[in-house]
């Protein structure tokens, strides 16, 4: 509760709504105590006095009644009726919803059918029918507005109750012999209260509008008593000659409803945990770049050169250093494996290359990604876009989520080409079929018209690969493309990628957590831990004589190379949180060889056994590796 209030207070708009609403409600409460003129006493001599007339702050209406006084009493009435309708609708709706949800089965079916029927009406028809039957009058209007809102509450609350009715604590209460009634009131009701509050906060403004509306139509409060709606209704005939009599009640309704809506939004945001985490921000077209330090130079000979790359996630006050200065390079036709546990920063590294890290919260804070002499990190969006997919293409994990569910696979393929003006209109479909064939999708002519959900996981992944190949890119970045697949399909995909690399001269960065996969495919491998490269070298050498204790552990986890999926659970402990990295070696807390020197920063990536590098001051297999190198 305390949290809830604090959240509400932080939302300035909601707070403004709360203050305005409280003021209006307070004024409405004390209205009878104020020295106001009698609201319903007519004085035809003083008709239509303009606002700020002596003795009539807001002027008078068509019968010479003091508008300010009528406004105050009208507000009082409108608020009372609106809130009463909301409470009645909430109580009855909640009762119906809880009954239906709790008993389920037949009861639920019958009740919810009825509710659906009621919701099949445009609400005002129902309200009008009720008023027609009961006759015009404020009380009847209240009944009508409450009644048309009951189904809304009933449906919402039934949904929540169904979820609760089968929880352990309800079962336990039942087993302990508690009566249904007591369970519903004692166990279920407290849990649905937040939903009731949200539903009320979002509908009460609307109910005030509706009762005002019925009064406006002459079906609600009857003269001489007036709520805000009937004030407007009466003023309508004088709209052109004396607009102030319309403006006064109209603006009051607007103020009240707006305040309630602001407050309601605040309440909903505060009670809805999904919004609370601030998760609903959309990633922008390219990752934000905020480089403070100098931009490093590119190295010679690399096709794609990642230098001192730093990518962070800024979540509120926290800074997660997902990538903390990574150096990597691939040469044409080379396959580089990037391996690490989940959360090691390998995917973020890969996504940073083309500015695809979700931003917010992602920010690239340093380094350079050099592709053929262009610094991609500093590139303008349009330049980046023309390179995306055409020069450097991605293959993602889990193509069910990464392919658009509502477009045919063929259309998505064709789009990959047309995005870069690469496809003649007529030939596009043929080219797409060829692409599907090239990734060994059987029956490509048919498959091109399939939707992603109609394909198997392996087929989808092939389609994803075909899409990456659509523009004959120079570099492919494959982010765990086989993780979601079973062993045989995985092997097929890997051999497909290997063939493609050899036949097309592709450079591949292959991201995985599986050393078995690396061994099959990659020339070189880089091991990532807590946002940094801890070891790098030719695959065979690293596999034979791992130098970093972490690498050694990783390899030890692989029972036999190329055998399906493995988890890295065999390493005790967890990687350090990247918002709170220890000084020195990040692996030290889990490392058996750790010495006090290991926790003293910094530990650099040091050359090792000729072509290799390792970030460890007590490397493993030191002698053996050196020997092998010579």
């Amino acid at each position: 509760m305390r949290d809830f209030l604090r959240l509400l207070a932080r939302n300035q708009l909601a707070l403004a709504g709360l203050i305005v609403l409280s003021a209006v409600v307070l004024l409405a409460l004390v209205t009878p105590l104020l020295p106001l003129q009698a609201p319903n006493v007519t004085n035809t001599g003083d008709r239509f006095l303009p606002p700020f007339t002596e003795g009539h702050l807001l002027g008078t209406d068509h019968l010479g009644r003091d508008l300010f006084s009528r406004l105050m009493y009208g507000t009082r009435l409108s608020l009372a009726v609106g809130f009463a309708a909301a409470v009645i609708a909430a109580v009855l709706g909640a009762a119906i919803g809880i009954l239906a949800g709790y008993y389920g089965g037949r009861t639920d079916n019958v009740i919810m059918r009825g509710v659906d029927m009621l919701m099949a009406f445009p609400y005002i028809l129902l309200a009008l029918a009720i008023v027609a039957a009961l006759g015009p009058g404020l009380l009847n209007a209240l009944v009508a507005v409450a009644a048309v809102n009951i189904p809304f509450f009933a449906r919402n609350i039934r949904g929540i109750t169904v979820g609760i009715a089968h929880k352990e604590f309800v079962d336990a209460a039942r087993l302990s012999g508690m009566g249904d009634m007591r369970i519903m009131l004692g166990e279920v009701l407290p849990n649905v209260i937040p939903v009731i509050v949200i539903a009320m906060s979002t509908t009460v403004g609307w109910m005030i509008l509706e009762t005002a509306g019925l009064s406006f139509l002459g079906l609600g409060s009857q003269p001489p008593v007036a709520d805000l709606g009937s004030m407007l209704g009466e003023a309508r005939s004088a709209l052109i000659t004396n607009p102030h009599t319309s403006v006064v009640p109209g603006v009051m309704i607007l103020i009240i409803v707006m305040a309630i809506n602001l407050l309601g939004d605040g309440i909903r945001d505060a009670l809805d945990p999904r919004l609370r985490s601030g998760a609903l921000t959309r990633p922008m077209a390219a990752t934000t770049v905020r480089r403070d330090g100098p931009v490093p130079e590119a190295r010679e000979g690399a096709l794609l050169d990642i230098r001192e790359l730093q990518t962070q996630f800024h979540v509120k006050k926290r800074v997660y250093r997902a990538v903390g200065g990574v150096d990597l390079e691939v040469k044409p036709g080379e396959c580089l494996g990037l391996i690490g546990e989940s959360g090691s920063g390998k995917s973020v590294t890969a996504l940073s290359v083309m500015g695809l890290v979700a931003s917010p919260p992602g920010v690239i804070t340093g380094g350079r990604v050099d592709y053929k002499g262009t610094d991609l990190i500093g590139a303008r969006y349009e330049q980046l876009r023309t390179l995306r997919g055409r020069e450097i293409a991605y293959i993602f994990q889990d193509p069910l989520a990464t392919l658009h569910p509502l477009y045919k696979v063929g259309d998505q393929l064709i789009e990959a080409m047309t995005a870069h003006g690469r496809a003649p209109k007529e030939g596009a479909r043929q080219k797409a079929i060829e692409l599907l064939k090239s990734v060994r999708i059987p029956n490509a002519e048919k498959r091109i018209d399939s939707y992603p959900h109609e394909m198997s996981g392996g087929m989808r992944q092939r389609a994803g690969i075909a899409m990456a190949l659509a523009n004959d890119p120079e570099v492919i970045i494959a982010d765990e493309p086989t993780t979601a697949l079973d062993v045989t399909v995985q092997a097929q995909i890997l051999s497909l990628l290997d063939d493609l690399r050899r036949s097309r001269g592709l450079a591949i960065i292959f991201i995985t957590h599986d050393f078995g996969v690396v061994a099959q495919l990659c020339d070189r491998v880089a091991v990532m831990y807590a946002g940094r490269i801890v070891e790098e070298g030719p695959t065979a050498e690293v596999l034979a004589t791992p130098a970093h204790p972490y690498t050694k552990r990783l390899i030890a986890c692989v029972p036999e190379l190329g055998e399906g999926r493995r988890k890295l659970a065999a390493i005790p402990g967890l990687p350090p949180p990247v918002d709170d990295l220890p000084p020195g070696c990040a692996f030290a807390p889990r490392c058996a060889k750790a010495t006090p020197a290991c926790t003293e920063p910094p530990i650099e990536l040091m050359p090792f056994a000729g072509t290799r590098a390792v970030r460890c001051i007590h490397p493993e297999n030191d002698a053996a590796a050196r020997e092998a190198a010579e």
Binding site: G114, D116, M117, L118, A120, F121, P122, I124, L125, L126, L128, A129, I130, A132, A133, L134, G135, G205, G213, G218, L232, R236, L239, I240, S246, G250, L254, V257, M258, N261, A279, L280, R282, P283, A285, A286, L351, L356, A358, R385, T386, L387, R388, G389, Y394, F396, D398, A401, T402, L403, H404, P405, L406, E415, A416, A419, Y451, H453, G464, A470
Partner: protein, 315 residues
């Protein structure tokens, strides 16, 4: 697809029956003798006798329902006493005007609402987003009848851009142009609330979709951001927007009652309010059932549109 539409149409039958039962029951709540209630000031003895014979009002409730239902199914919605003509004729006359008004408003709020929501989401926390959010807040808080009155005051009375009220000019030809001239203000006033609701929903639907992996895929392909937003994201977001459009159609239809009163538009809504005030019960009953039935059919159309949009729905 044909069989899906048929299936949905068949599933509407129980809903339509349910609607007729509900309306019938509400009308049965009228206190006192039904014949006198229906006839009101026209309750002469021979009128009472005639209506009892025609509608079986002296029979038990269940029998009355079936007589009423049977009459309606043969196109006989009863006779309006205040207007002295068949209810169905009057409703059909009026319904056209309501459809023009509500239909235009619905198209307006769908297009404007979705567009505003998309822009808002694409520019989240930017100036456009804040401006749209603010306008939307006013839009969903202002009573449509008040808005309509203010529009009359400003655009008709002061600026003289549009006629004050009505559907056709009092003198002169009934051209499409003169209809549009009369239509613009009421349609806009009617569309405002629904536009706000749709814009809010479209914004959050877009924000949800833009975080999905397939959006990143589209960007990784080098698809232009414009196309990412307006094609990839919007298409997916429409899946959750379309059902709300169906619900909002009901709200537009409801709001039309107020707007028809304010702008003196000769539609069903105004007819219903007049009928309630003159206690013309049969006219209310017939009008409500007719409009509700049309709304049910419209929602089937929405479902069909949804199934066309989302191939994952089994048809």
């Amino acid at each position: 697809m044909g069989s899906y539409i048929l299936k949905r149409l068949l599933s509407a039958i129980p809903v339509l029956l349910g609607i007729s039962v509900i309306v019938f029951l509400i009308m049965a709540m009228i206190p006192g003798d039904p014949a006198t209630a229906i006839l009101g000031s026209y309750a002469t003895p021979e009128n009472v006798a005639r209506i009892n014979r025609d509608l079986g009002l002296d029979q038990p409730l269940v029998a009355r329902y079936f007589i009423w239902l049977g009459n309606m199914l043969t196109g006989d919605f009863g006779r309006s006493f205040s207007l002295n003509r068949p209810v169905l004729d009057e409703v059909l006359d009026r319904f056209g005007a309501t459809m023009i008004l509500a239909g235009t408003a619905f198209v307006l709020c769908s297009i404007l609402g979705v567009a505003a929501g998309v822009v808002s989401a694409a520019r989240q926390y930017g100036f456009a987003d804040k401006a749209i959010t603010f306008v939307v807040l006013i839009g969903i808080s202002i009573p449509s009848f008040f808005l309509g009155m203010m529009m009359i005051l400003i655009f008709a009375v002061n600026l003289r851009w549009f006629p004050v009220s009505g559907m056709w000019p009092i003198y002169g030809g009934r051209t499409l142009w003169s209809l549009l001239d009369h239509l613009i203000m009421p349609a806009l006033a009617l569309a405002v609330v629904a536009t706000g609701v749709i814009a809010r929903l479209a914004r959050s639907a877009m924000l949800e979709v833009l975080r999905q992996d397939y959006i990143r895929t589209a960007r990784a392909k080098g698809v232009h951001e414009r196309s990412v937003i307006w094609r990839h994201a919007l298409r997916a977001a429409m899946v959750s927007i379309i059902p709300v459009l169906g619900i909002q159609a009901g709200f537009v239809l409801s709001g039309a009652v107020y707007i028809e009163i304010v702008f003196q538009w000769p539609g069903v809504g105004r007819m219903l309010v007049d009928a309630i005030l003159t206690r013309d019960i049969l006219l209310v009953q017939g009008g409500v059932v007719f409009v509700a039935a049309c709304y049910v059919l419209f929602n089937i159309a929405v479902d069909v549109a949804q199934s066309l949009l989302d191939p994952r729905i089994k048809t």
